[in-house]
Subunit: 363 residues, 4 copies
């Protein structure tokens, strides 16, 4: 199941150490202006090698647009984008051929398919998310056409919390100035130091990112099984390292009373809106007009240098392994553009499904 | 979007105060033995009026099986089940016709569809989940045929935590002896008392439920967008009051190091398995063979007797409202069978998709 | 796969001699006015017992609308319609339990599912089409809201051809005055006489029906795999007895030159339109604005009184059988409303997909 | 809607004069041996420039496999294949920018999307079928693994009929020795001469092709809306020039009596099978075990040199046009591999859906 969506449909393909990865985006209406730079700038945000705390794997990740866009305008036909795998180094993986790495999909792919491309994690590699980001860039352009912005930031790494409070989309752009994508400068420094320490120890850390969609009109989301929060839940959970998703106050809701949780209604500029936004912009699976707020719990990178135990798939004997290779000690900074992409794809799909955007062409 | 699933497809229909609600289950293989009692016993677990802390609305919720089962055996054709709405009392809702209740879908349905069946929440009512439970009963039977069991329990209400630790499926059956469906007897009493207090105060409370699927074979789940955890995320988030979902250690993963998070591999009875289960039974979106562990954060019931502010949809004037009517002050006890149903439906669908169950007939 | 459609989704359920058959129509926008009579009048057109040449099985086929319509207006939620099976007489079928009838699905269902509800053909019975007609009635109402009409007539029975030429939708209403639904009065009489003769001989006959959709705007249909003609091909072929489908000149195209086939363009009232309509209103899978013309080849009813050979599924011995029971000697007159329903469902789905109708509500 | 299928899912992309066309094949189980040559040989059968009666456009149509196959064996992950557009000559199309060609999709794409890539027909070009043939090659390999073969031949061009009668798959291989892909040598010569005449006259001709699938086991096909014939109807109708589809005796059924149409059952080698095959191998939408026989009516190539009338999209004035450029005067010979591909894709999808092939890996 490598296709996402009902109307705005994204298909991704490609193995980590194969020739290329790519995305086909079907269902984007005609007449949307998209340049190569629109795609590339999002890929660059996800690109490895951005700072000392990301993997040294250095890939340019250049997007090649092969169809669906003519004279920088979408045609309403499928947009095919490919990104070549350039800095592939499969040597470190040979010894892992028969030994599944703890925390990775090696074992489960082996069981499911009988065999696999073990090099660099194959299809289960985080490299697959390059294609999501490319597709997300198209979704973002479509949403921008309706003045919607999707922005993310890191709010927790290994327990170090951001104290940043945002009010407008512009506030969140601050994240781009931090190597960990955290808007709170003090926390950002502390997080970066923590990651450096883990890297030296051959260990890794997890954290929490928050993604916010601003200016989504009320009415987006399809009851009963196509609820906006349900689709976000699936989209964000489909990102490799994510172990939890919450909307609005999320797990805190378990501790609240109804009188504390409910957002009461008022009017502003002649429109109804909730006074508070504990719901995270969604009621009954449909947007209220308030910002859509989601958060993801991200596990620590499973590739660690410390010695771990695994089992040889052929001999069934326990073996020790230490995962060398070039890995991010913390995936949070680079997961932000991926999560933004998924939120944007969900919104594009549901905006189309709800009739907020014409399915064939931008009028 | 009232249909769930790719192969095991569940369509639900019905408004809270309409004539009936129902489910059509398509894609269940032929030859599965199902009695009326198999369906009914699950509906009874969800039924209102089970105890002093649930709504006094008294519905028998009798399942009528209209197709797809002949001589107590599935035919491979769609199974249609309807449940009539019997104890409907729409009087309390007339004044709410133009005033959206805070925390409910009234406002968002109004915006999306222009008009709605306001009686009892209409389609957005929790009553819709009766149909899910009926469909879930079919899914459970199919899973039982493969010796899989899906069981849930309440682990937190308003901060009161269960200290219960389970080891086997049987342990979780204890939940059925508690009116809040909590296996820890002491916590259960405290939770019940808390709910009673809230009921008297005209307020409500939220909590956390945990759903566990035992004996799922390794290999279930479809990368990339059909990951088992992604499908669980969508399924559980599609339940009205759920604000968060986590798998395995969930949000705790944000605080762990890789060396603490990774489940190392070992062998047992000649089979590879993880030594620990922090991953909650899923790696790379595919089951590992360990129990599948999910948790949901449930918000307090939005229908509360305390005075709240809303806005009249026609005059746009602020109005005070107090939601009378017959409501659960805490939805946790009754959400457990609903969440189990969704987990069972997801697993049935993915077991079929993965070739673990023959799609046409049970061999 | 008992669900049709992407946006306007129709799920049918029910066995011929079970308790009921039904349809759930999901994706119909809110605000469409539909009365019980709108549904019933279409069921009455398909109902058995309309004349001496249809089956004497007498079912009232009363539609019960259980959800999705409130105060005679759609809610945007699933519309559930059920029709009870009343005049069920399963006695004649006992001897057929182990002997598949030639030309029926008995054998293939047996092979596929291992067992089946053999009474009256079970799920494979033409009775399933009642549910399609109910769903088609909703689709027709939605199309009427855009001034589109879908009308069918019989143009050939056993080689007896209608010479009728239509110019407007009203012309085709003439079919309703003929017991074979043929607009050419002379041919109609001849066809009826032919059917009577076959009935007496214990045999049956086939024929051709034509379905025309008037006033479909240009632009309906989704390239590449969702072409309007492709969807019509699938929809019409999904009707039990259909062995062929053609659009516009259809198989005659094989004999034409390009200069004879191409419809050249002209303008009328300031709009571009084809001068002729050999294409049947579709180019590149998208409507041109001209009437959408489709035809279906319908095989003779397989249930015949004449002696035929079959094989006992258990003993594998050849046995003779003669299908008694109450059957139409020619299905053409009653297939017309079914085929109209499928064309209407396809158009409703593609009109929604193409943005010609708002997916949430009629503005 | 550029994706076909439920389990074996094919997505095609690309415009005629863009950089490339391609297909992503998702849902092919792991462990299937596929070489580059397996794909290439099918593309070569469809390639332009094969003989004097096809277009002189000379493209090598080299397949590049970018993912999903590792060491010549499928991984169970999406197979991405691209074919570059090499011999692109867009000069002839500039004058057609505002003038829709009769019989082409120019006008309908213009209406639907507002603008289009007019060069070479853009997305609506028959060039899109290269991608289908590549995907079909994968489907064929999967079917061959189950000993199923899909073979086509031309049986009618402009009324010249093949008298060839086949008995085994091998018989139909004769088609590959004919430049029109007709197994009847005398008819083949006549057809070729006819096409040459049309070419000289600046005109074109249509015809009929027949596609046969041998050795399909009984039980393939999903009632009610996923019938094998319904899926074939959609698949074949989705090919640009097809105006009609029939199964088995097809339109001839309209002229037959039930006693002539029904295939009676007998046994052979201890298995039940129909004595005759008027049904074309399908009953109730499910395969009987007999060869699956389908035929398509193909219209004459709409691109003709003769003068035709059209309308300028901007000025709305009538203009004369003559389509020069490099076109096949008869598409039949080259449509055979495309139609085979679609039949193979349908069968692969339904074999997987029916549990005839394991969805994750070849056991």
């Amino acid at each position: 199941m490598n296709t996402w969506g009902h109307i705005f449909r994204v298909t991704t393909w490609g193995e980590s150490h194969g020739q290329a990865v790519g995305a086909v985006i079907d269902g984007c209406p005609a007449g949307l202006r998209i340049t190569h730079e629109d795609i590339q700038k999002e890929l660059d945000r996800r690109r490895p090698g951005q700072s000392t705390i990301t993997t040294p794997r250095s890939e340019k990740d250049t997007a090649h647009i092969l169809s669906g866009i003519y004279q920088e305008k979408t045609l309403g036909t499928p947009i095919s984008i490919i990104i070549r795998n350039e800095d592939v180094d499969s040597r470190g993986y040979d010894e892992l051929r028969h030994v599944p790495r703890p925390g990775h999909a090696d074992y489960t792919f082996h069981v499911k398919y009988g065999w696999r491309d073990h090099r660099g994690g194959g299809r289960a590699s985080a490299r697959e998310t390059v294609a999501r980001v490319a597709a997300g860039a198209v979704a973002k352009k479509l949403l921008e056409h309706r003045e919607i912005r999707v922005l993310g930031h890191v709010i927790d790494i290994h327990g170090i919390q951001s104290k940043f409070v945002f009010e407008s989309p512009e506030d969140l752009l601050l994240a781009e100035t931090s190597i960990v994508r955290c808007c709170d400068a003090a926390a950002s420094d502390e997080m970066a130091a923590c990651i450096e320490r883990m890297k030296e120890a051959g260990d890794s850390v997890g954290g929490i990112a928050e993604i916010v969609a601003f200016n989504v009109p009320p009415g987006v989301g399809e009851p009963v099984f196509g609820k906006l929060d349900a689709e976000l839940g699936r989209a964000l959970m489909s990102i490799g390292a994510v172990k939890g998703v919450e909307i609005g106050v999320g797990f805190l809701a378990a501790k609240l009373k109804g009188s504390e949780m409910n957002d009461q209604f008022t009017t502003k500029d002649g429109r109804i809106e909730p006074k508070t936004n504990r719901a995270g912009g969604i009621l009954g699976g449909i947007s209220t007009g308030a910002p859509i707020i989601s958060r993801i719990a991200v596990k620590p990178t499973p590739s660690i240098g410390m010695r771990q135990t695994s089992v040889d798939l052929e001999t069934l004997e326990e073996v020790d392994l230490s995962v060398s290779g070039r890995h991010d000690p913390c995936i949070l900074p680079r997961i932000v553009p991926v999560a933004e992409a998924m939120v944007a794809i969900v919104l594009a799909d549901l905006m189309l499904a709800g009739g907020f955007i014409h399915p064939a062409r931008l009028l």
